[in-house]
């Protein structure tokens, strides 16, 4: 047992770093995930989320820094780490040429699910994946959403205390995503720690705490509501007849921190609330843009992310 992590810490990283040649994929990232927490890793593609998860699960050795999972050091005790985690990646990872039952049986055996519990665990996975009447179907023939539910089921067959999900809902429609998250909640009701990465902002709201990643660096870490509250600069939503022109105009205005299209509206972050309320409508009128509405709004996580990236002094990687 490693002494570095107190008992209520499920996953810990200290200055975790991974370098590929001259490219630093993960740059001195530190955090601690509490037991039973749903911990979200949010950031654009290439932000270093997957690399961090690969280091924590033992798929990749860190260039420097340390980490522990379930109290075991990720370098020295990787065998023990592997016994205590479930893992599901964005790459769908069941055997397409095996049936649903055969996949479940294989992973049960691989993870030493006790023989007397196997039938019960299998039936449970079949039920949560909605596959009870399709157990002898080839896995490759199932729809993607169902496959992912099955993959999640197989990842928790051995009831691991910690579950790593690397962009589990990538490529799935919003409804299936929603149902997938319901499933995660069901699975973790028993106190499982979930470490999940995503680039879907709306998914981040499901997490207890969020780590924002950009360009290999951790730029913020807090509960979603507190992250939003901490984004202190006033934010307005503008409805106009020409969003594109509006964004271009605003970006050149003094006192405007950020202006971006947000659906058909424009979101604009400003330095001074009163000044913005006076200046922006005047400027738009002057340029012949019709303004249908201007309301101050609470920032979404996407706004927070953009704000934090700007604060950290870099543009998000696309």
């Amino acid at each position: 047992m490693s002494a570095q992590a107190p008992n209520d810490i499920a996953v810990a990283a200290q200055e975790l770093t991974r370098v590929f040649g001259s490219f630093t994929a993960v740059d001195r990232v530190s955090f601690a995930v509490r037991r039973g927490e749903i911990f979200g890793f949010l950031g654009p593609n290439g932000a270093g989320k997957t690399t961090t998860i690969k280091m924590l699960t033992g798929l990749l050795a860190p260039s420097s820094g340390r980490g522990s999972v379930a109290g075991y050091d990720i370098g020295a005790q990787s065998e023990m780490v592997k016994r205590n985690i479930g893992y599901m990646s964005q790459l769908f990872s069941l055997y397409a040429d095996l049936t649903v039952e055969e996949n479940i049986a294989f992973f049960s055996g691989l993870y030493h699910v006790p023989r007397e519990k196997r039938a019960a665990r299998r039936d449970w996975v079949l039920e949560v994946a909605g596959l009870t009447d399709r157990r002898t179907r080839l896995t490759g023939e199932l729809p993607l959403g169902i496959k992912q539910r099955l993959a999640l089921g197989c990842a928790v067959l051995h009831e691991p205390p910690i579950l790593f999900l690397d962009e589990p809902t990538s490529g799935v429609d919003p409804l299936s995503r929603r149902r997938f998250w319901d499933l995660i909640y069901t699975l973790t009701a028993g106190g499982t720690t979930v470490f999940v990465s995503t680039h879907y902002m709306e998914e981040a709201e499901y997490c207890h705490r969020l780590a924002l990643m950009n360009r290999g660096k951790l730029i913020a870490l807090d509960a979603p509501a507190r992250l939003r509250a901490a984004a202190t600069e006033p934010l307005f939503e503008l409805k106009t007849d020409d969003s594109l022109k509006t964004v271009k105009l605003l970006q050149r205005m003094a006192g405007v921190r950020e202006a971006a299209m947000y659906g058909r509206a424009v979101h604009v972050a400003v330095a001074d609330r009163a000044q913005a309320r006076a200046e922006i409508p005047r400027r738009l009128k002057q340029e012949g843009v019709a303004l249908h509405g201007m309301d101050e709004i609470a920032p979404s996580l996407e706004d927070v992310f953009v704000f934090r990236v700007r604060e950290a002094g870099g543009a998000p990687v696309d």
Partner: protein, 367 residues
């Protein structure tokens, strides 16, 4: 190494392998077909070689000589003429492989004891057949000379007897060796593809985050194909014994033991291929790039002793060369370990070496 986890892997590999019904044909029918092809088509024996006769002599003696050629069964007359040019044309058009030209004074010189000469034209573009035909023709003419030369026997008479393969049938020599080629290809291809496929679809990563260790993964990826390789040896041996009636003089158990040693090399090279291939297609191509020189430098088709010296040295590193020596030794001579311990030892050393090297490379990649 945890036997339970290895067993799970082995079971899964078999399930996957035979999920595709075509795999049965690839693994068990194809070897038998290959054996049939080798057994029937690839024969270096000659029979009824097309022969064109130009008989200028036209005597009873000359007709008897031609008769001696055809009666042997090795030659068949496809045309006769009085002009040598016709024999040349027949050879050019590949209507005949051999031209036999008997001079005008053939019978006369034979009778006078002055020594008669006949000319044999051979199509050298088919050098194997030509060489064999030449050998038979020489023997026929020699015998003919003894019978007609007034009874004077040659001072030295060569009495040949081929040991181990009395009928000198190339089939007895080739068929057992085909087993080597087949199990090598099976092990190479199945191992390489099984690993690369998992890498390609992402399940390899899933396995590496599980408690499965690299050694267990390697065992799970090699044991199934070793079993299939041995099953193929049995299958091919049975076909050789009961279909082609190739005699098995030595021990079947020893043959299986040698096959197991040989399979180590096949699995090792297969695993090595999987470490350098990103896609199944790449693995497939690499397998054949490795397979061809292994066959060519094994003595399966071309005897090692007639290769240039450099290549003879190269064949020492080829596990198939040693395996074929053992297989032919067991089948034809009934040789045992005492006669072939060098080959057994080399085969084991090569197998253990390449499998060990491949395993350490593989570990570094996935570990």
């Amino acid at each position: 190494m945890n036997p339970g986890r290895v067993w799970e892997m082995v079971r899964k590999e078999f399930l996957q392998l035979f999920r595709d019904p075509r795999m049965w044909r690839v693994v068990f029918i194809a070897p038998v077909i290959q054996l049939l092809v080798f057994g029937y088509a690839v024969s270096t024996d000659i029979k009824e070689t097309a022969t064109f006769v130009v008989d200028h002599s036209g005597t009873r003696a000359s007709r008897e000589l031609v008769e001696a050629f055809t009666a042997s069964g090795y030659f068949r007359v496809v045309g006769r003429s009085q002009r040598p040019a016709d024999a040349v044309r027949a050879l050019d058009r590949e209507e005949a492989l051999v031209g036999l030209v008997i001079p005008v004074d053939f019978a006369e010189r034979l009778r006078d004891g002055r020594g008669a000469a006949v000319q044999l034209l051979l199509d050298g573009s088919q050098s194997n057949t030509a060489t064999v035909a030449q050998g038979y023709a020489e023997r026929i003419v020699q015998n003919f000379g003894v019978r007609h030369g007034g009874g004077a026997a040659p001072a030295v008479d060569l009495r040949e007897r081929a040991w181990f393969n009395p009928s000198l049938a190339s089939r007895n020599y080739n068929v057992p060796a085909v087993a080597g080629a087949i199990i090598f290809l099976v092990c190479l291809l199945l191992t390489a593809l099984a690993v690369v496929r998992e890498r390609e679809i992402g399940t390899l990563e899933q396995l590496m985050v599980s408690p499965l260790t690299a050694a267990e993964l390697i065992a799970g990826k090699t044991v199934p194909f070793a079993i299939i390789g041995l099953a193929d040896v049995l299958l091919v041996t049975a076909a050789a014994l009961f279909w082609f009636r190739v005699p098995l003089v030595g021990s079947l158990a020893l043959l299986m033991f040698a096959s197991l040693l040989f399979i180590l090399s096949g699995l090792g090279i297969g695993l090595l291929i999987s470490t350098v291939s990103k896609t199944q297609q790449e693995a497939f191509m690499t397998t054949f790039l490795v397979f061809m020189p292994t066959i060519l430098l094994s003595g399966l088709m071309f005897p090692v002793s007639s290769m240039p010296e450099l290549f003879q040295w190269l064949t020492l590193a080829n596990p198939m060369r040693h395996y074929l020596e053992i297989v032919r030794g067991i089948f034809l001579k009934g040789a045992g370990v005492t006669a072939m311990w060098v080959q057994f030892l080399t085969l084991f050393a090569l197998g253990a070496g390449v499998l060990g090297f491949a395993a350490s490379r593989f570990r570094k990649q996935v570990g």
